[in-house]
Amino acid sequence: MSASHVSGLVRGLCAQGVVRSSSGSSLLLVLALMLAACGGGPPGSSDSTPTVRVGSKKFTESVILGDMVTQLARSTGARAVHRRELGGTTVLWEALRRGELDVYPEYTGTLRQELLSGRKLPDDAALREALAEEGLRLSAPLGFNNTYALGMKESEAERLGIRRISDLLAHPELRFGFSNEFMDRADGWPALRERYRLPQRDVRGLDHDLAYRGLESGAIQLTDLYSTDAEIAAYGLRVLEDDLHHFPEYDAVLLYRADLEPRAPDALAALLRLEGRLSEAEMVKLNARARLERVPEARVAADFLASALGVTAEVRGESLSARVWRRTREHLFLVAVSLLSAMALAVPLGMLAARRPRLGQGVLGLAGIIQTVPSLALLVVMIPLLGIGSRPAIAALFLYSLLPIVRNTAAGLAGIPLEVRESAEALGLPSRARLWRIELPMAAPSILAGIQTAAVINVGTATLGALVGAGGYGQPILTGIRLDDVGLILEGAVPAAALALLASGLFEAVERAVVPKGLRLRAESESR
């Protein structure tokens, strides 16, 4: 299914490429790169070894479960790919429905309350039915219920005498900090406030992983937790009793595509062995090992499989240099493809904008609007169109790169003095020759500066690509934030900064090579 999507995309691009053949070799280059990008998709079905594509959300428990599923599938001889730490439930849900993932760990509450909230499903049986209509299946519960809960520092809760959520009614001045997802979802804060009639006004959204630090520093006094969070014990938190039974059951399950059964029956049977094997206490222990003892999730998963199911899995460690090199390649790929395609479109657009100022206003306005869309939102909007992986990331980066290049191209061309423009025209040079011989060389410094700006922004923004499974330097940053591991954050942030500097330096070198000497002389004499 995904293969047909990919080829459809490529065919669409090819058709456009043929129509616009006049814009020449740069477009062809971009097309070739796109093809290469798309070629790196899932292997064809002609292979006899089945492939299982596993996804996980960007929190530790999900990553551990994803690793368990991956290792179990591998133990049957199947090929298994784990797309770790994808940014948000909808990303995984869409990817699963589009057939870019085969299985990922999910919670019944999330399915009922969030993904299928419009259907008002009364119980798990109704849920199974609704999922079957989408071509999806649900495993039996894995054994633990990871529901939402509210937590405060034990000492503070004791001081204020708060044990149950209802006790919060007496303390309207409390500062709440909730994970962004909890703030927004239907069964999260809005419903909770309604149910308990909570009076608190100082409520802010923040990253779940930052909330614990907020509690520690006193910036917030109460946050949402998951009942299997490793930090509950580590930070000395009191979990408030849900006395009105507001929060639904969040039983952990595996959500998988129905076509996995005929395609990889052995692998499916193996990973369904997890059903009923994970108690809440067990999960808290596993989470604590990964989050607090910093044991890699794959190791935690492997140790559990060995002791509980007797399955031995090989955990391959990657050296630091190999990791950085792999992410550098992923990152460079995102930046290069998006930047090259943006150049191929934005430079002609800038030329058009300079020639027809009114049209140019429109083009610049549109590019400006794109620039104001938050990158995370743009990435998520891309997913239904382009799936997960490098394609949505490249598309978003491409869009972000347009504005600086269009604007600088238009400004560079518009800044050519009238007498020079008039001289070229009076010489009897046709407009095409004027463009190539006079206008573009004179606008070159400005155009290059625009591309340089786009490249630097691009290198930084590409770190968000990790949220949609595009890899790159964003991956360790994401993991580092999740695990509160500064070392890991630096493992992504330092190379990203270095790459941005390198890109900037590279363009300065290109400028020295490309910008005509006469223009640099002029710049020098003007600056004197």
Partner: protein
């Protein structure tokens, strides 16, 4: 060479040129003279199609100037143009500026070299400065490069818009002498725009004095002095030629 029939031009609410009829004879130097804003530069730009007239038509060699930009190209190859400050391409050396059109038209290298040699000699341009960029040339040298560029294709007509406007007096004086010698040697049809009466008298065979978009008088300098068509002519001449001892024409 040129004949303008009822030509007028308006920019927004300003009537830059009122309908005028004018003949510019072949092989002679005509100076368009007048204060700034009188429409002389507008008139010049109508001659090579940088502007097109609102009314009337411009005949070049008996043929109306085409309005289509493609069709204008061959005309422009026969009409050299240089303006104040030179309008040189800053990213090209002096030599590249001069030979740009020859390269575009794919002249053989030998022909280009030969023509360049002749022009360097004609304009007394220092050969060693050919490889310099406009930013490295003096004002006078830039003007000579602009002149060489305008003459490269050996055009029938040379249009010059205040070619000496931005130069200091000494360089200006020297170039005036050189220009006169060049005009005399080439015997081309030259149309030169200036606001300087002395320059007009020194370089022009014929003067077209303009004011507020109209031609006030056409003729030689002595004719303008002896038989002014309008009090403005006398005023313009007096303003630019302060008599020693304060003597004034009665």
């Amino acid at each position: 060479m040129y004949e303008l029939q009822g030509v007028s031009k308006r920019f927004g609410s300003t009537q830059a040129l009122h309908p005028l009829t004018l003949r510019l004879p072949t092989g002679r130097t005509t100076v368009l003279l007048g204060p700034s804003g009188c429409g002389k530069s507008t008139l010049l730009r109508l001659l090579n199609g940088l502007l097109s007239p609102d009314t009337g038509r411009v005949l070049f060699d008996g043929q109306p100037l085409p309005r289509d930009t493609e069709a204008l190209l061959p005309v422009r190859h026969r009409v050299g143009y240089a303006l104040q400050g030179g309008g040189l391409f800053p990213h090209l050396t002096g030599e590249e500026n001069v030979t740009l059109m020859a390269r575009h038209l794919r002249w053989p290298a030998a022909r280009t070299r030969e023509r360049l040699g002749a022009l360097v000699e004609l304009t007394r341009f220092p050969v060693e400065a050919l490889g310099r960029y406009p930013a490295q040339l003096s004002g006078g040298q830039r003007q000579r490069v602009a002149l060489m560029r305008a003459l490269m294709l050996d055009p029938a007509v040379l249009l010059l818009d205040e070619p000496l406007g931005a130069l200091d007096p000494l360089v200006r004086h020297e170039l005036q002498g050189d220009l006169r010698a060049i005009f005399a040697r080439l015997r081309k049809t030259v149309v030169l725009v200036t606001h300087d009466l002395a320059e007009a008298g020194f370089l022009g065979d014929d003067i077209v004095l303009m004011r507020d978009g109209r031609v006030v008088q056409q003729g030689g300098l002595s004719e303008l002095e002896a038989q002014p068509a309008d009090p403005f002519v006398t005023r313009f001449i007096q303003a630019q030629r302060p008599m020693p001892g304060g003597g004034a024409a009665a």
